[in-house]
Structure formats: C-alpha cells, structure tokens
Symmetry: C2
Subunit: 316 residues, 2 copies
Amino acid sequence: MRPTIAEIREAAKRIHPHVHRTPVFTCQSLNEQVGAEIFLKCENLQKVGAFKFRGACNAVFSLSAAEAAHGVVAHSSGNHAQALALAARLRGIPAYIVMPANAPAVKRAAVAGYGGQITFCEPTLAARERVQEELAASTGACVVPPYNDLRVIAGQGTATLELLDELPDLQVVMAPVGGGGLLSGTAIAATDSSAVIRVVGVEPEQADDAYRSLAAGRIVPSSDPQTIADGLRASLGDLTFPIIQARVEQIVTVSEAAIVAAMRFVWERAKLVIEPSAAVPLAALFERRIDLSGLRVGVIVSGGNLDLDRLPWQQT
Amino acid sequence: MRPTIAEIREAAKRIHPHVHRTPVFTCQSLNEQVGAEIFLKCENLQKVGAFKFRGACNAVFSLSAAEAAHGVVAHSSGNHAQALALAARLRGIPAYIVMPANAPAVKRAAVAGYGGQITFCEPTLAARERVQEELAASTGACVVPPYNDLRVIAGQGTATLELLDELPDLQVVMAPVGGGGLLSGTAIAATDSSAVIRVVGVEPEQADDAYRSLAAGRIVPSSDPQTIADGLRASLGDLTFPIIQARVEQIVTVSEAAIVAAMRFVWERAKLVIEPSAAVPLAALFERRIDLSGLRVGVIVSGGNLDLDRLPWQQT
C-alpha cells in the first residue's frame, strides 16, 4: 500500500529546506487534566500556520521541471490554499486557487498574500471542481488535491517522523481526521516505525464520516456537516480510507462543547493559539471518550488559523 | 551596584531545577513587519505564564531554612502572586497573598490553585501594605516584593542570561518596564555580558513614569495610570531606578492602539498567546518609535496571562 514510510522519508528530505521543524511542547496542567503524558507536536507553528504546508510542499517539489513550469491549481478556501500558494511561490511557479465567492475576506487576503492567483466561483463543490478543471486545461497547471493524493499524504506524515525521532517511546499518536490526509500519513509513519504504537483518529461527532466508514467497511461520506472544526468537514477519500482502515486502531468522536473547552484550555494554559480542528484530539481526552491513562501520547496539533474576531466562547 | 551578573548567575543555578528554559522563537512575518530580526524569548511559556516566576523562585529559594519555615507574604493581584504561591509550594512553605477584595475571580482562583493563602483587603495601596505587615508580624513570614528587591531582580535577569547564551551576538535587548524588576535584571545581564549591546525599555505612554523619571533624574511616580498593559502600572523603585539610569540606553513609550495591534499580530502570526504588557516592546517597533532597522533584537516576551473573555479588540 502506498505511500510507504520510504516515501515519507523522501518527502522529509525534499521539504527539509522549506518547512519548520516544529517544536514539541509539554504542559503539566494539561497532563493533570487528562491523566496522560501529552506531547504536543506544534504544527500551528508550521509555515502558514498548519501541517498542510508539508503536504503541499512535497507535492510542489515532487513535480518535474516540465510539470512545474505551468504551475499548480487547487480549489480550497482553507489552509490548503495558503499552503499551496506559499509552496508554489518558493518554487517560483504560479498557484491558481479556486475559491467560493463567499469565502471570508481574511482567507482571500491570506492566499493573495502568499502570491496565489484567485479565481472565484459559485459556492458548490460542482462549480469548484469545474472551474479547477477549466483552469488546469487552460494553463496546463497540475492539480494538487488537499488530501486524497499520495504526495500530500507522504508530506503530512513527516510531522510524525519528526515527533518519533525525538520521542521514539511514544505509546500512542493521535491526530484529527477530516479527509484523512494527516491521519493516513501519521499512521504510516507511526506503525512502520514501531510495532507497538497505537494510532487514534479523532473527529467531531457532527462530522463522523470516518467513524461510520470504518464501521461500515466502506466510505460513507458526510453531507454538509456542521461543526466548529472547519478543517474536518471533508470526508475520507479512496486513497486515505484503506490506509486508515489498515493502520488506525480506532476513530473516536467528540462533542462540539469539548472541542471548545479543549481549545480554550490550550490557549489559557499552554499559551498556544490553536484552531478548533487542532483541539479535537485533546477533546477526546477531556471527554474521556478513550482511556489513555498514564500513557505517553503524541498529539499532532494541526493548525492555528482562525478569526480572532469570532472566538467560539463568545458566540454562546 | 547590586545585584551583579554574578548574582544573576547564582540565581540561574538556584532556580534551574524549578523553572522552564523557555524557547526563543522567530517569526518571518514579524521581521518583515518591523524591519529587524526579532528573537522572542517566550516567558509566556514560563511556569505560571510569566517571567515573574523566576524572581519569586530566586527569592524563595534564597531564604535560609529558618527564614523559610515561616513562609512568604506579598500583596499582589497579578502574576507576582501566582509566581510566589507556586515557588512557595515547590519549597513546601506557606505563601500568604494579600489581594484587594475586588480582584477578579479568575485571579483569585489562580492563586488558590497554586496553594496560596489569600487574605482580602480594601483596594488601596495603604490597606494592602498594612495587611501585609500584619500578616508578616503574626506569621513571621518574609515579605517578597514584586520588583524592588535584589533577589527578585537577579531572578528576572536569568531570562536574558539564557537568551544571550543562545544568541551571543544580539545587538539590542528590549523589555517592558513597570516597576523595573525585569528591565533591571535584563540590563545587568546584557551589559555585563557584552560591551556593545544596547538595552531599551518600553512602557505605555499612559504609564510613562520611567521615561519621566530618567528625564528628571529622580523617581517621578505615576498616579493611578490607565493602560491596557496592566502589568506595567507600577512605578520604578529605589533599587530599580539607579540600575536603569546607569544601564538602559533609553525608555521608549507607545500608544494603547499600538499595544493592541502588536499583541494581535503575535497571536495571529506567531500563534502565541501573549498579554498586553508583553506586546509593549514590539509596539515600539510597530509604531517606529525607535529605529532598529536591520538589527538583531532580542525581546523579552514577559507573559501570557489575560482574560480570554475580554480581548481588547472586542472592546473597541
């Protein structure tokens, strides 16, 4: 099954000049709160503020010179768009980003700030895919999907490679799951590095397609899920599903209230700005949805991008 | 003049088992914004979320066994109270904290959470000092002042010792100034480590007693200053003033709007939760109140404690 850990190691070498080796933080009050020894792999401190830069960077720098010359294209209004725009700028090629016309101004500005060329479209998946195809056809740009892509999955796995390089004796690794790119890369890096490590995916119970898909043994996508963890609204793809099925011990779901509580705790006690999606694995520990008492647990803190004018504890 | 760098080095050894060696962060967008190379010494990631723990810890562990047996006492509703409570708990002695009866519940809970024994009083300086004296007399506890104290100043200087150990070629070090404990310790550590390093203190223009005191050549205290940087409302003391006079190149003042803008920038781009007081040195660069173009500048990020329910950009 691909990608393999060898491809994750190649990705790590390829993106090394461009990505931050993010720090791993501990927080005593967090450990006391959840009853386990937590190691936060701080991808909120990654470039563009999210792990997404790893996958985008690996995809962009995997292209041959001939392929790269025409640029890259993606439809996204989130962290993938920013990540791809910056990766393309670093390679000196254009990035065409398709965004719904109703995307928040702050996200449009962020993509433009990294040099992305934005094309607006109707806010439907069909429109986004159609405009992306048109752009790919007219410019010759390569499509870089946000998660269902071997190069992207391998890139996301490099965070766990770094984490286990520093802490080879971790007993569990937890990551949030949306489309499954991060969790797939995490699972390959972890289970191929250790015969005993457990990999746990966590998602909002209001966007529980991974949980339902594993239970059903086939992809059961969510339809327009409503969750504050906006990075986790996507459903598993045909590349990420089998990897997760084979290598992830279980998918745990969490409530919206626990996501907000875990996020606020990290802001208050660890002094780290993390986005709701990044708080989802910790929420599983806060809610005791899984018992990891006394274990050494690595948690991929996926990102730190959110609108500071609209914090969740002020909207209740 | 005391304390000397030797005393700061002793303090560093004394508190080493108890304090975090905080990380130093860089942030490319911050560098671009201010036109200098900024190194953030992250004391917001220190225990209790502020540099204050260094000074309190040095004071508490400097006590002889006989002195320590009766505990320590201070009047404070801020970071010093939490810092002293935790330092005392680590030494296994009582901490008596005098707080005004109108102190926010969150601050009372934080001090109590670290094991501090709180005595409430009228919200005036006279009442706070009287109750502190009464407690010291009745319990035999040692008073640990928040800044005007040689042990506390030496403890605060250890942050800069660590910073310059990592980055000996810094050209400037900046710190906020309230009562002057942090700036004094910073200045001694910096100027005794390097013959050429510049030390700059920054304070809110609405609490500009240090600026006015240096201009007047004598302590000119502020009276009830109003600034969002609540950690910087104190005025210089008779120990901190002469150190700052001798070793600090200049005091720069900043507007309230620049403090909020700098704080928000650090949250958004560096993903670090910092309190308003910690943003004050960066505000001087944002406002171009001092020209440090192209220089390598260390900034002591003093703390990260604030009420997440009342963020400044939501009160305008």
